[in-house]
């Protein structure tokens, strides 16, 4: 029971979402679903990141009336992973949007959403 802590659970969720996302990325033939898989992969990483910064029984890293300013370092969770996640989420959106625009353009050229039809170059 000791191992079942909040951060362990969320970490496990994160890892599983990563794997599910990769599974989708690697097995689905539909371009849009591949992008979905990638988005899930990203989300999973974000969950892992946030769980790493969590500290049991602490509050959000915002110094307000509930948090004593002088003892803040013993009261709040780690702000750094959260800051990193913020950045990562936005980057992830940028990449997802780019992927989707590629999908759109690929579809316009070949009228197919099946990735196996896009082996234009090989070897």
């Amino acid at each position: 029971m000791e191992n079942i802590t909040l951060q362990n659970i969320s970490l496990a969720i994160g890892i599983l979402v990563i794997l599910i996302g990769l599974w989708g990325l690697l097995t689905q033939k539909n371009l849009i679903k591949i992008v979905i898989g990638f988005a899930l992969f990203d989300t999973g990483i974000h969950i892992v990141m946030v769980s790493i910064g969590y500290i049991k029984n602490r509050t959000a890293p915002i110094i307000d009336s509930a948090v004593d300013m002088n003892n803040a370092s013993n009261l709040v969770v780690d702000p750094i992973p959260q800051a990193l996640v913020l950045t990562a989420i936005v980057i992830g959106l940028g990449i997802t949007a780019l992927m989707l625009s590629y999908v759109l353009k690929m579809y316009q050229k070949k009228k197919s959403l099946d990735i196996t039809n896009y082996k234009d170059l090989k070897w």
């Binding site: 790493i52 050229k109 896009y118």
Partner: protein, 1046 residues
């Protein structure tokens, strides 16, 4: 100085503000972007300058007003400055190159272009690992944008593959970064290095993820399919940005983060590099698309750089030298080739012969390719040398083998490509070259030349006098517009001056007979063989620089005191001779064989030198004598290099067609002179190594057999040739067999024979080729059966050939007999009777082709279309006379040559020498007096001549065509000619000896390599998903490899 932080400010500010200009004149926005790129280059260049000249200290730049680890900091040190200067100047040049594309595509693409370089700059400078991640993402996203600069279908799908693959990689990197943060509490790279994360279990996995992601960013073989597709599909202007910008920055990331992994990571990175280097080069062999070849080559070079990086500790203070010489030459040359590919705008390398119309570009392509191959005098040569020496010294012989093998594969595809450029083809389209695309190409070629000079200076391996030939060659190249006549005079006088300095001023005073003999063959021979050049009309562009380089390489062999200098000169000579041969009309394929064999031979020689260095720790040629433990291997490996050059049996197949297809005067040069470089090398090698007991006597024994068989097969092949140049070429193989055999006897007489043969072969082979060339020049054919009766039209040539073949056949009274006489003495003394018998038999065979030469060309009825032929030009005849004089002098008075050589050899072989008494030379087996023989022969000849001359009045002229009585005109009239297929009957008896099984064997090897390469590359399925899969498999396998389990 302008602070490095302004790089970010300027680049971002410009990119953001370009948004204001979306509807404005695109020239304005382009100028803004260009100015910004120029400023970036200026900032980094200025720092580099400060580091180089002013002992500038490495500085840290803090952002946000806090010190690290609390805030993100950047670092500007010497290495950063080098990398940034490389990246930014590439950006500037790329901007010039892509001028029309960027202008046409508009502001968005300009922003993307700028941001790519901005990202790379920060990636290089930052000391914060997450910041590195963010800016790496910027660069890769920007690249995704540039991929679709042209919205082609294949570019779009390869862009998607790239997105998926780089998405997966950056995901892995991100997990690694966060986990590293968890285990160390910091994102500051210096903290991570000192945190010793590898000690914690999870920490080591975190480090693993970071390192593997960085390695994957380098596109290691085989998890790199997406990158190859991108390379192939993008606009050629983007290629350099990937290989010279992104890959360079990624290498720097590896360099920067390597300390986090610690020394434990050196070996895995080295192995990754080895696999990439060998694998990519291997798969490159089968490629036909120029961009894809460049992609494979880029990846292989990155692999090589990874190897170098993994050796950073053992390379010690040589590391920077090796790393940067390879990195920068690859960076410059690759950019140049990509840009030229863009100018040509043809994907298939078969279409590259469009360049035929722009010889200037061909020269540039050559410079770039030879730079990539690490041939001298280009920078990577020095780096590779140090690398191989170091690897050998640390006992990594397998790695040496792999690197050399990989380099050979690379040579195969790059040189085959180079050959394709030179293939002649009619009605080629015109090449439209936009001026702005040419600027960067020319710029990098100058940068290569400058950097070559700097590396040579930095290396300290060669002295200033090694630059002189290059300067002369460049000078001649600069004055290439002058007519042949002037350039020929210049070339002759240069060589004459040099031989005066070298032989007369240096070696004659030192009485160094070996070097006097070979120096004279090389340089005085050069003067003689250059004389026919006067017959050529026009400009003969590019010929003279190459000739100068070839002879300087030969002279360099004579002068070399270290293995490095020797190898340097060897490669220069090989490269220049390759380029001379390839100038011939149909010489592309033969010259490819030549260079391929030569390079393979050079690489084994290289490995041999490495072995020697591993044992003695010295690169002095004299130190070869101290090699004991590795003696057999080193000896054999080095010898292979020389055997290739003398076309010893087994590696001879390059020779006949190369000789045949080269220009006529080039053939004389290579056959009479160049081939002796191998003999010289063997002598040097044997003098220092064979005489010690460390080398097993079996090796010379085997060499003796190779020589004997070579003599037989060469002569056998010669008799069946219809092509007169091939005939003489095969006879060269035979003679080289004699020489090899003689040398391998390791006795006084054997060596005396070899020396004498070398001189005599030089004389008569030059004579024969010159005379025949004169004939070919007049008759316009090389087929023997199309000649005949030329004695009437070309009597002087006839005399030359007559003297030539008498000497060749070793008949008294001419000098060839001296050689033969000594030869048999040597064989009998050594007791190699069986081999001796083979060689003796092959001597008889030689009579057959000698007869064929003189009879079928000069005797018999004159061909109808040859009735008006003139004697060969005076410029062909003058050198022949000189050579005849040489033959005569040696024939009459061999003592002047043989005695000093004998004295010299007595230092090494004190026993069983010739004893001279007046003009009589004797051994314990017999004696011989050339002068007397000559007198007697001259007397007999005089008598015979008078008799024959007096009878000649009575000869009856035969009607020319009365020999044919058939009623029908034969399908191929030449087959009825008696000279056609002359020795076919012998073929029935001895045909098995001339079956082309050596050729078939090599062909089999070559084709197997190709088909394996073709099969292996099939795992690049072209499916982006599979590529992503490769990445994950790579990660898992790598993990298993490192940890031996989960």
């Amino acid at each position: 100085m302008v602070g490095p932080i302004y790089i970010i400010a300027i680049a971002l500010g410009t990119a953001f503000s370009l948004g204001f200009f979306k509807n404005a004149n695109r020239n304005i926005s382009f100028s803004l972007m260009f100015l910004a790129m120029a400023f970036l280059t200026f900032i980094s260049g200025q720092w580099l300058y400060a580091f180089l000249t002013q002992q500038q200290e490495t500085i840290q730049i803090f952002t946000a007003g806090f010190k690290p680890p609390f805030s993100i900091s950047l670092q500007m040190g010497f290495h950063e400055a080098v990398f940034l200067t490389m990246i930014n100047s590439l950006g500037l040049l790329s901007a010039i190159y892509l001028f029309d594309h960027l202008r046409e595509k508009g502001v968005n693409m300009m922003m993307v272009f700028m941001l790519l370089f901005m990202g790379l700059n920060v990636v290089v400078m930052t000391r914060d690992i997450f910041n590195l991640f963010v800016f790496l993402e910027i660069s890769s996203i920007a690249l995704v944008g540039l991929i679709i600069l042209e919205k082609k279908q294949d570019a779009i799908s390869s862009g998607f593959k790239y997105l998926i693959a780089s998405g997966v990689i950056s995901g892995i990197l991100l997990i690694g970064i966060v986990a590293t943060y968890y285990y160390s509490g910091s994102l500051y790279i210096n903290d991570l290095i000192s945190a010793n994360l590898s000690l914690v279990k999870g920490g080591s996995v975190a480090v693993f993820l970071i390192m593997i992601a960085v390695i994957l960013e380098l596109k290691p073989f085989p998890a790199n399919g997406w990158a190859l597709d991108v390379y192939q599909s993008v606009n050629a202007g983007i290629g350099p940005i990937i290989s010279g910008g992104i890959a360079t920055a990624s290498l720097f990331i590896l360099y920067k983060l390597l300390p986090i992994g610690g020394d434990a990571w050196l070996l895995p990175i080295g192995i990754t590099g080895v696999i990439s280097f060998l694998g990519s080069n291997f798969l490159g062999i089968k490629q036909k698309s120029s961009n894809r070849i460049l992609a494979y080559s880029s990846i292989s070079q990155v692999g090589l750089l990874m190897i170098i990086m993994s050796l950073s500790t053992s390379l010690g203070d040589k590391f920077e030298f090796v790393f940067f010489s390879v990195l920068i030459s690859q960076y410059l040359a690759k950019a140049g080739l990509f840009w030229i590919a863009g100018i040509i705008n043809k994907d298939e390398i078969d279409d590259w012969n469009i360049l035929k119309k722009s010889p200037g570009l061909i020269v540039l392509v050559g410079i770039f390719m030879f730079t990539l191959l690490g041939l001298p005098p280009f920078p990577a040569f020095y780096g590779k040398w140090e690398l191989i020496m170091n690897l050998s010294q640390s006992g990594n012989f397998v790695w040496v083998g792999i690197i050399l093998l990989g380099s050979l594969f690379e040579a195969i595809y790059l040189l085959r490509w180079f050959g394709k450029i030179l293939i002649k083809q009619d009605n080629l389209e015109d090449l439209k070259i936009k001026f702005h695309k040419l600027i960067p190409v020319i710029f990098v070629s100058f940068a290569i030349l400058l950097f070559s000079y700097l590396t040579a200076k930095w290396s300290g391996l060669i002295g200033i006098k090694y630059y002189i030939p290059f300067i002369i060659a460049l000078l001649i190249f600069a004055f290439d517009f002058l007519p042949v006549f002037i350039k020929n005079i210049a070339a002759i006088s240069t060589v004459a001056w040099y031989s005066y300095v070298l032989i007369y001023q240096t070696y004659i005073p030192e009485n160094d007979i070996l070097r006097i003999v070979f120096g004279s063959i090389f340089l005085i021979g050069a003067i003689i063989m250059l004389i026919p050049g006067f017959t050529f009309k026009g400009k003969r562009q590019g010929f003279y620089p190459l000739v100068i380089l070839m002879f300087s390489g030969l002279a360099g062999l004579i002068e070399a005191r270290t293995t490095f200098q020797f190898f340097f000169a060897w490669e220069i000579m090989t490269l220049a001779s390759y380029l001379l041969i390839i100038r011939g009309k149909n010489a592309v394929k033969p010259s490819f064989n030549y260079i391929l064999f030569s390079m393979a031979g050079a690489f084994t020689m290289f490995a041999g030198f490495g072995l020697a260095f591993a044992e003695t720790g010295s690169i002095s040629l004299n130190a070869l004598a101290d090699v004991l433990v590795y003696a057999n291997w080193a000896y054999a490996l080095i010898a292979i290099g020389f055997l290739v050059k003398i076309a010893a049996f087994g590696v001879h197949i390059w020779l006949p067609s190369s000789y045949a297809e080269a220009d006529d005067d080039v053939t004389s040069m290579i056959s009479a002179i160049l081939i002796k470089s191998g003999v010289f090398g063997l002598i040097i090698l044997m003098l220092s190594m064979s005489l010690k007991n460390a080398v097993s006597p079996n090796i010379p024994y085997v060499l003796g057999w190779i020589g004997a068989i070579g003599a037989l097969i060469g002569n056998m092949m010669a008799i069946y040739q219809e092509d007169v140049k091939k005939l003489i070429a095969y006879s060269s193989i035979g003679i080289m067999g004699y020489i090899l055999f003689a040398l391998s006897m390791m006795s006084h007489m054997g060596w005396l024979t070899a020396f004498t043969y070398s001189i005599v072969h030089f004389l008569y082979k030059g004579l024969l080729f010159l005379a025949i060339a004169g004939v070919i020049y007049r008759t316009q054919t090389r087929n023997i059966y199309e000649m005949g009766g030329l004695i009437k039209r070309m009597p002087l040539s006839f005399i030359s050939v007559l003297i030539g073949i008498i000497t060749l056949a070793g008949m008294p009274p001419l000098a060839g007999f001296a050689g033969k006489w000594m030869f048999y003495n040597a064989v009998i003394m050594k007791g190699w009777y069986l081999q001796g018998a083979i060689v003796f038999f092959s001597g008889i065979v030689a009579f057959l082709y000698c007869f064929k030469l003189i009879h079928n060309i000069f005797l018999g009825p004159l061909k109808d279309n040859h009735r008006k032929l003139k004697e060969a030009s005076i410029w062909w005849l003058i050198p022949q006379f000189i050579l005849i004089i040489g033959i005569m002098v040696i024939s009459v008075y061999p003592k002047i040559v043989v005695e000093p050589i004998g004295q010299y050899l007595s230092m090494y072989f004190p026993n069983d020498g010739l004893v001279w008494d007046g003009t009589t030379a004797s051994t314990r087996l017999g004696y011989w007096d050339a002068t007397k023989i000559m007198t007697v022969f001259a007397g007999m000849f005089g008598v015979l001549f008078i008799i024959l001359y007096s009878m000649s009045r009575k000869t009856q002229l035969v009607e020319q065509f009365n020999i044919v009585f058939q009623g029908e005109r034969p399908e191929r009239p030449e087959t009825t000619h008696y000279a056609h297929n002359m020795y076919a009957p012998y073929n029935k008896a001895l045909g098995f000896l001339t079956a082309p099984f050596i050729t078939s064997a090599w062909k089999f090897v070559y084709e197997s390599i190709h088909s394996i390469s073709d099969q292996v590359r099939k795992f690049y399925t072209g499916n982006g998903q599979t590529y992503a899969m490769h990445i994950i498999i790579y990660v898992v396998v790598f993990y298993l490899f490192i940890n031996g389990g989960f």
